[in-house]
């Protein structure tokens, strides 16, 4: 079996400019934030990001000029930390395309990719201006008269997840909420996992706890505190101070300096 365990540098090299990347986790929770930081600091360009609800990971890549489009339901930090200003500014200045979806239609698009079809019919969206803005088309039930919005398949080149535990084969155990990670793992052409711990444990003792099947995973990187500055359930909470300092940065140089000061290995 080929070696799936990679260093952070090797993992960063796997991701090509202009790729479509699905990022796991949700908001500041168990998102692959350190890997996202590493991509931004490595100067990746033209990334198309897929997320249901994103915060620091997306905003950081926007801040570093790595993003051409964001396809998501929500990008922001909720009440405590406010708007995702780098994302927002990028969109307002026309550098980043905001391909807003409803979170459900991100899921529907991923489900279409999983099932190898090019679209998925969904209930919902009626009356939303997103229909016109995003060009969502309808599809008619060939057996009846009902029409549904059709959501085009979303196929990430890479799905990038952060999990608590992975084994050498890429099997992953997620503690706490899964968010959309299992769906993203199935939809991605390739899957990169960062893990708090790569363990020697035999997951076959309780295979029902394995959230991500190893045979779908291409690369595994051990990154303790890999969801920093976000949370990782049962491991650590968020670092609000860091998020605030990041949000106060005025240039990519400020950001590089902040990362260095905090001695984050990216």
């Amino acid at each position: 079996m080929e070696e799936k365990i990679k260093s952070l540098e090797e993992a960063v090299d796997l991701i090509q400019d202009y790729s479509i990347l699905a990022l796991g986790g949700n908001l500041i929770h168990r998102s692959p934030a350190v890997l996202a930081m590493a991509l931004g600091l490595a100067g990746k360009k033209g990334l198309h990001l897929i997320k249901t609800a994103g915060a620091f990971d997306v905003d950081f890549l926007c801040a570093m000029g790595s993003v051409r489009a964001v396809e998501a339901g929500y990008i922001g930090y909720e009440n405590e930390f406010g708007l995702a200003d780098f994302y927002r500014k990028g969109v307002e200045e026309g550098r980043i395309e905001a391909l807003e979806q409803a979170c459900y239609t991100v899921i529907a698009g991923l489900r279409a990719a999983i099932a190898g079809v090019t679209f998925m019919p969904v209930v919902g969206l009626e009356g939303s201006d997103l229909v016109k803005a995003r060009g969502f088309k309808k599809v008619k039930d060939p057996y009846g008269e009902r029409e549904f919005y059709a959501i085009q398949a979303i196929t990430p080149d890479w799905t990038i997840l952060h999990v608590q535990k992975a084994d050498r084969e890429g099997n992953c155990v997620i503690n706490g909420p899964y968010y959309e990670d299992p769906i993203m793992a199935r939809a991605g052409k390739k899957v990169l996992v960062t893990a708090e711990e790569i363990v020697e444990e035999d997951f076959s003792d309780n295979p029902a706890l394995t959230s991500i099947p190893g045979f779908l995973v291409d690369a595994v990187v051990e990154i303790p505190r890999g969801a920093f500055p976000g949370t990782c359930a049962f491991y650590y909470g968020e670092d609000g101070d860091f998020i605030k300092k990041f949000k106060a940065c005025r240039s990519s140089e400020d950001i590089r300096k902040l990362v260095q000061e905090r001695e984050i290995s990216v």
Binding site: E78, N79, E100, V123, G124, G127, P177
Partner: protein, 238 residues
């Protein structure tokens, strides 16, 4: 008794609107609905099914998180029911109540969480509607809440309609609107506010309230609130 403010008033007003046995959902950035649901379960609707975006079902968080998508919100849940399943539940007509909010809320109960200005090159890019475009038309009842009440939020027409549909009530720090014949009509004014204040702070025509006044938070409600939320996470929306 002036130990309560708009946060407490909104929470208990919403808690009293929920019914026993119904399935109620909140998503991200929703401390007030989170607390309202927890208060309702404790005092009025023990058989309510509390569903949140983390996949928690009837979670009993030990410590309330500021982020309503945080892993604490599956604590004591006996199953994980991920967001994809929750959307499906709503799509097939089995979600009773969903809580959503918006940057703008208009006279017809539409919400805008997307943009001010042009969609592709907006003046202001807002966070996005999260699940609202899918949930507002499919949940049986949508309760919209917003912790600020001013005329730039409560507008005649949204700049952009992110979601339209089954909005029934809109709860603000000043009172409650209900959608009647397609328009938001003022139902109740909270005791510390007035029709004049609401008219002043609302960008669309407001008639006399058609419903009864909502009683102030009771001692029991305040005690439960204090117990559930000693750190006053509820204030974060204000």
């Amino acid at each position: 008794m002036k130990e309560y403010g708009p946060a407490e008033m909104m929470i208990v007003a919403i808690a009293r609107m929920l019914n026993d046995g119904e399935r109620v959902f909140h998503g991200v950035a929703s401390p007030i609905p989170m607390l309202a649901i927890l208060v309702a379960q404790r005092l009025y609707s023990p058989g309510l099914t509390y569903i949140n975006i983390t996949g928690g079902i009837n979670a009993r968080p030990e410590v309330l998180p500021k982020s309503t998508d945080a892993p604490e919100l599956i604590h004591k849940s006996k199953v994980i029911f991920p967001l994809a399943d929750i959307f499906d539940l709503s799509a097939r007509g089995e979600l009773d109540t969903a809580f959503l909010s918006g940057a703008q809320i208009d006279s017809r109960g539409n919400i805008n969480s997307s943009v001010i200005g042009d969609f592709s090159r907006p003046k202001v890019r807002l966070p996005g509607g999260a699940g609202s475009a899918a949930l507002v038309p499919t949940a049986k009842r949508v309760i919209v809440w917003r912790a600020k009440h001013d005329p730039r939020i409560f507008v005649e027409n949204c700049d952009f309609i992110t979601a339209r549909g089954n909005v029934k009530e809109v709860v603000t720090p000043l009172g409650i609107f209900e959608k009647i014949f397609g328009r938001l009509e003022l139902k109740s004014i909270f005791s510390y506010s007035s029709l004049a204040e609401i008219r002043e702070k609302t960008g669309f025509r407001v008639s006399e309230p058609f419903g009864e006044e909502i009683g102030e938070p009771t001692k029991e409600e305040m005690e439960v609130l204090k117990e559930l939320d000693p750190e006053r996470v509820r204030d974060i929306e204000f």
